[in-house]
């Protein structure tokens, strides 16, 4: 299981990094759009749609909104990132406070469909904005944050994990694992900031104590929200009664299982970078 997981990661990671660094804006939007379309397919099942036409309809709806955005919306207002941030903020509070109640509730199909549409489409737009407005290096940093947090949480959880983070939703996650992930992220953020200062890249032209702490904290908040995204998807799977969202990636389950963290994290990462004025180039 772990072997499959590591192999898949080792093959996919270079491809993803190459896509982030070298694909032109439009092609990146297309590739990420495909990934989101696969996620939409998987979400349709989690939402409770079972027939192929119904599931295909949901995917088409997502793709339709994304395409019309690309074709006609032009440059949307920057503040549109904030409702998404507020959404994940509220979700994290509810997940923390009332996990059991969330699992018991009966959600109408329309709510599940609309939530999926909102989360998936906004994450696609924000990811495209990040790549276009902040640049591919800053986008790569977001991916590395989520991956390193994942690895850090895995090892710290294995070594020290005792206290479950959210026993009702995801029994495997521990508080110690989260601390481990945050520790790894602090080190990683400091190292990246060091490289940026050395190259005088973007807004990192001169050492500024407050900017450095801003950067580390933005990285930490991003990682915390990525965990929330993970828990959110776990909750959806638990409500539906499945273990994985799909079978597309050997050892990792479905596409949504892999991208849930990123889908949530990109919102705070984009809005936070803009608000704090953090640019890599």
């Amino acid at each position: 299981m772990l072997k499959n997981r590591v192999w898949t990661a080792l093959i996919l990671a270079p491809l993803v990094i190459a896509a982030i660094l070298f694909l032109p804006d439009r092609w990146f939007a297309l590739v990420w759009g495909l990934a989101i379309a696969i996620c939409a397919w998987e979400w349709s099942n989690l939402a409770g749609l079972t027939t192929i036409p119904a599931r295909g309809g949901f995917v088409l709806a997502c793709v339709g909104v994304m395409t019309s955005y690309q074709q006609w919306a032009g440059d949307l207002e920057e503040w549109l990132a904030w409702p998404v941030v507020v959404w994940w903020f509220l979700i994290s509070i509810v997940l923390r406070k009332y996990p059991a109640k969330l699992l018991e509730l009966n959600y109408p199909l329309a709510v599940k469909i609309l939530v999926g549409l909102f989360v998936l489409v906004t994450s696609w737009i924000l990811m495209v904005w990040t790549q276009h407005n902040l640049g591919s290096k800053q986008l790569l940093y977001l991916f590395l944050l989520v991956w390193i947090a994942d690895i850090g949480a895995y090892f710290a959880g294995k070594r020290w994990g005792i206290t479950p983070l959210s026993p009702e939703i995801s029994p495997g996650k521990t508080v110690e694992g989260l601390y481990g992930a945050m520790g790894a992220i602090v080190l990683f953020a400091l190292a990246v900031a060091g490289v940026l200062y050395a190259n005088e890249a973007g807004t990192f032209t001169r050492f500024d104590f407050i900017q450095l702490i801003d950067f580390v904290m933005l990285s930490l908040v991003t990682v915390v929200v990525s965990v929330v995204g993970d828990l959110f998807e776990s909750m959806a799977k638990r409500i539906r009664g499945v273990k994985d969202s799909g079978v597309i990636l050997p050892g990792h389950g479905g596409m949504l299982d892999r991208l849930d963290s990123l889908i949530a994290a990109v919102s705070v990462y984009y809005a936070g970078s803009k608000l704090l004025g953090i640019f890599f180039q």
């Binding site: 807004t203 032209t205 001169r206 050492f207 500024d208 104590f209 407050i210 702490i213 608000l275 704090l276």
Partner: protein, 446 residues
């Protein structure tokens, strides 16, 4: 300030303050543990706790509260609740007077210790400064009246040696707070040692912040090597490809002797190309730079957006430690004197800084480099120490005052009187808080 910038600034101020409060409380905690008092809870921040840790039910509970305002250490104490039989010997109120005093004093003491440590680092890294040589004198000012001459080197102020200009000026301020005349020892251009007496008029004793304008001496700007310390983002210098560490050699065929000459040349050539030769890592590089146009009261001048390296005066470990002690002591005394003068009405309340101005200083100091941020932390830390030692009930100083009275009278102050005094203390503090906010908002109209 725009709203987010204000929130951002206040956030960092609260963060810094929380760290300093944590150190203060750690002082109490450490002394209590060492002196055999049982500590129930060590909390940073007030209100509902967002994070807690307790090794076993018998050990101290560590907690982080929701509101980043202060913190506390809760010890076993019969006055604050039921104490079980076996805990009685470890209760705070059962300790000797000396033990209780030591635990109370340890908090402010930790803040002073931190200030010394921070200053020590600052002095070892080196303070940026210039020699205390008088440059220009403004006519009709105190310095002119005292007979200062251009070229005078200030050696000492009131017998305290002053190696840098900043130290000389701050010594003058320090003495001007309570003496009507300040003796300044100078070495004249003719190598004579003389004492020049600055006479401080009465109105300046009341408003020391005006002294700066009335003193009227300016430092002689020393000749600086034309080596760049930093290049600002999006500046003409960056556009031209200049980098920190570059030594400027030749401009339009003329050798650059010192930084001032280069500055004058740039100012005289806004928006004109200058052919520049710089030395970088031992190699000579040719560049073209076009200074940006800047409107100033003196007309349109050129600007390239780069700063020059200024000499630093790092001290060795031991002298730096001595200087750190001295600086902490002096700043504490100065803070105390200032508070005293405000209370007796000898100084204007304009000298008070409320949270908003302190937060603003925090951001400025953090932006202007690591050492100035450390220096700022040191000042806030020692102020926290000084203010906590004020004999106001509720504060550490208030408790110490009770202990002194207990020692004098031979028995503790009756609890009823203590509680009344504590209430008065809370009122005084609340008034002070509201007052300093009021002054701040007054000072920084939105």
């Amino acid at each position: 300030m725009e709203p987010f910038a204000l929130i951002h600034t206040l956030f960092y101020f609260l963060l810094a303050l929380t760290i300093l409060v944590a150190i203060h409380e750690f002082g109490h905690y450490y002394a209590a543990r060492k002196l055999g008092v049982k500590v129930l809870k060590f909390s940073i921040g007030l209100g509902k706790s967002v994070w807690r840790y307790q090794q076993s039910p018998e050990s101290t509970e560590f907690s982080i509260g929701m509101l980043p305002l202060g913190g506390f250490v809760k010890m076993v104490d019969e006055r604050e609740g039921e104490v079980s039989e076996q805990d009685l010997p470890f209760a705070f109120n059962r300790q000797k007077l000396s033990v209780r005093s030591a635990i109370v004093f340890a908090g402010p003491f930790a803040n002073f210790l931190l200030a010394i440590l921070l200053y020590w680092i600052v002095f070892m890294v080196g303070v940026v400064g210039i020699k205390p040589i008088v440059g220009t004198l403004s006519p009709g000012t105190l310095a002119e009246q005292a007979g200062f001459q251009e070229g005078d080197e200030i050696i000492a102020v009131g017998n305290i040696p002053t190696p840098t200009w900043t130290m000389a000026i701050s010594e003058i301020f320090f003495h001007a707070m309570d003496d009507e005349s300040v003796p300044v020892e100078v070495l004249t251009v003719r190598e004579q040692k003389l004492i020049r007496d600055l006479i401080i008029p009465q109105e300046l004793l009341e408003k020391p912040q005006l002294l700066h304008d009335r003193l009227g001496i300016n430092a002689l700007e020393p000749s600086l090597e034309p080596v760049l310390e930093e290049v600002m983002p999006n500046s003409a210098a960056r556009l031209a490809g200049l980098a920190a560490g570059d030594r400027l050699l030749v401009a339009d065929g003329k050798p650059i002797k010192d930084w001032q000459q280069w500055v004058d040349y740039v100012r005289a050539n806004p928006d004109k190309d200058i052919a520049l030769v710089v030395e970088r890592n031992g190699a000579e590089i040719n560049l073209t730079i076009r200074p940006a146009k800047v409107e100033t009261p003196q007309g349109v001048v050129g600007k390239i957006g780069a700063a020059v390296q200024r000499p630093k005066f790092p001290l060795a470990a031991y002298p730096a430690l001595v200087a750190a002690f001295y600086k902490t002591w002096e700043s504490s005394v100065m803070t105390l004197k200032m508070i005293g003068r405000i209370i007796v009405g000898n100084a204007s309340v304009d000298n008070l800084s409320g949270p908003i101005s302190i937060a603003k200083y925090a951001e400025q100091s953090a932006k202007s480099g690591f050492t100035s941020f450390l220096e700022y932390l040191a000042i806030v830390s020692l102020s926290l120490g000084v203010v906590n030692l004020l004999p106001i009930p509720v504060l550490d100083g208030g408790h110490l005052m009770f202990y002194v009275l207990e020692a004098v009278m031979g028995k503790p102050i009756p609890e009823g009187i203590q509680i009344k005094l504590l209430n008065i203390g809370v009122m005084i503090l609340l008034c002070l808080m509201v007052f300093s906010f009021y002054i701040d908002i007054f000072r920084h109209p939105a």
